[in-house]
């Protein structure tokens, strides 16, 4: 089986020749090609070269697009900082006050250079490695507000200004669907998202039930479906902690 066939089997619940596997080595590619992170997260050909190194070293069944969520928030106007040993981080979010957030301007996903870095990486990876599954890493739509306005301001909005939180999510929804679909059009086989604001250690059960899960169910239903199901995963806590929540919402699968 090819890697792509193996992963497809796993998603369909069929028996592959061996378990599909991968490791999150988006950053590690820079080490393999002895490249500074300043260059690695700017020049597409270097990122792709690094992932070629990952493929040769570990032979994973899945390669990942640049796991650089800051590229998305940079497109919204946040200041990011490039670090020596980490992916770029957010230095200053786009918004510092909640009365600014409804003035949000959405980036052009076909013109913005930060988004273009992600998209071109996916195009090249999928073209050069046709038998390998390509996963596109992106911010989840429930977390994107936290990235562009700061975690504390998004928490405060969710907790104490529910109408504004809902209004912001409604505005973000079509943008996220367009962004996610573009990554699939570029060649990604599925999407992966770390999701913090649908996690019982981060937000209350009430927020999960009333805001996060219904929103995610709606948004994921609107996107294109690769392999007949959207794929997503949690990073912030074990999957076991959220399974009983997702089971109540059809259309979600961990």
């Amino acid at each position: 089986m090819t890697s792509k066939e193996r992963v497809l089997c796993a998603i369909k619940g069929e028996r592959p020749d061996r378990p599909a596997f991968t490791m999150m080595l988006s950053l590690y590619g820079a080490r393999l090609i002895d490249c500074s992170l300043d260059d690695y997260y700017v020049h597409v050909h270097l990122y792709v070269k690094g992932q070629q190194g990952v493929l040769e070293m570990a032979k994973p069944d899945i390669l990942v697009s640049p796991f650089m969520l800051t590229a998305e928030v940079k497109a919204f106007g946040s200041q990011i900082i490039y670090l020596d040993k980490n992916p770029p981080n957010i230095k200053k979010p786009t918004f510092q006050a909640d009365n600014e957030i409804m003035n949000i301007h959405f980036p052009d996903i076909d013109q913005d250079p930060s988004l273009g870095f992600i998209r071109e990486s996916i195009r090249l990876l999928s073209t050069q490695h046709k038998d390998t599954t390509i996963a596109a890493a992106l911010s989840s739509p429930i977390d994107l507000p936290a990235l562009i306005m700061g975690i504390d301001l998004w928490l405060e909005t969710l907790l104490f200004n529910r109408d504004k939180a809902q209004a912001l999510l409604n505005r973000l929804e079509p943008y996220f669907v367009q962004w996610a679909n573009s990554l699939l059009d570029d060649g990604a086989d599925f999407l992966i998202m770390p999701i913090c604001f649908c996690n019982p250690t981060i937000v209350s059960e009430e927020i999960m039930e009333q805001i996060s899960l219904p929103f995610l169910t709606r948004v994921f239903s609107a996107g294109k479906r690769a392999y007949s199901n959207p794929s997503w995963r949690y990073q912030a806590s074990p999957v076991s902690k959220i399974l009983h929540y997702t089971s109540k919402h059809s259309g979600l699968c961990p």
């Binding site: 980490n86 019982p200 209350s204």
Partner: protein, 227 residues
């Protein structure tokens, strides 16, 4: 103190009903003080929230609500003029900040609030504070403790530079270094590795930690305690 009042407030906090908590505190403060509300009412409730957190039965959001309520009460105490009385008994001063290249402010802000609620005089340097910034502020305000926050291992390691600065400058080498952040919960051995004198698992535990470190500071500094 009415246990049922604390239980009511705990339930309201867990349900993010900030206004209802403020109503209860306002009613109680008519015959008491907001400063007393912080220690006698909110303090025990924060301990319970901390225990729930350890049992993974409370979320970050609920801790955040508690922090905002503490801020509300602090502000009311200040507006009512209670802060003038409180200053005479205030603790510290202490200097708080995120270490260089660290921009994760949420935990630090909650620590600042809980320390202030416990009577500490806090100077907050914000994000991305260089070791020299901490030392300069300590000297300026005559602080006894530095509290430094870092979320990730790669930024937490930078705290070694701060420890180096503290140890090599005679004017500040008695001050205590509190370290905190998610990475220290995941790797407790990191506290010693970076030269920390102590850590707290949650923001709610910071006042107890600072009480302990302040005693150590008093014991080790050259000036007698009563001066």
């Amino acid at each position: 103190m009415s246990v049922s009042l604390q239980d009511q407030i705990l339930e309201f906090i867990l349900n993010a009903q900030r206004e209802k908590v403020n109503e209860l505190i306002d009613n109680w403060a008519v015959e008491n003080s907001y400063t007393e509300a912080l220690t006698l009412i909110l303090g025990p409730v924060l301990k319970k929230i901390g225990n729930l957190w350890f049992k993974e039965k409370a979320s970050l959001a609920q801790g955040y609500v508690a922090g905002k309520i503490a801020e509300d009460i602090l502000l009311k105490a200040f507006e009512k003029g209670e802060s003038k009385m409180a200053l005479a008994e205030s603790k510290g001063p202490v200097v708080i900040g995120n270490i260089e290249d660290d921009f994760h402010a949420l935990g630090r802000k909650m620590v600042v609030t809980f320390l202030q609620a416990a009577g500490w005089q806090v100077y907050d340097l914000g994000n991305d504070a260089a070791p020299a910034d901490f030392i300069d502020k300590v000297l300026e305000v005559n602080a006894g403790i530095i509290g430094v926050s870092a979320m990730m291992y790669t930024t937490a390691i930078g705290i070694k530079n701060l420890r180096h600065e503290i140890d090599n400058r005679q004017s500040v080498n008695k001050i205590q270094l509190a370290v905190g952040g998610a990475v220290f919960n995941l790797r407790p051995d990191l506290v010693d590795e970076v030269g920390g004198d102590g850590t707290a698992a949650t923001a709610k535990d910071a006042p107890d930690l600072f009480d302990t470190l302040w005693q150590k500071y008093l014991q080790t500094r050259e000036i007698p305690n009563d001066q």
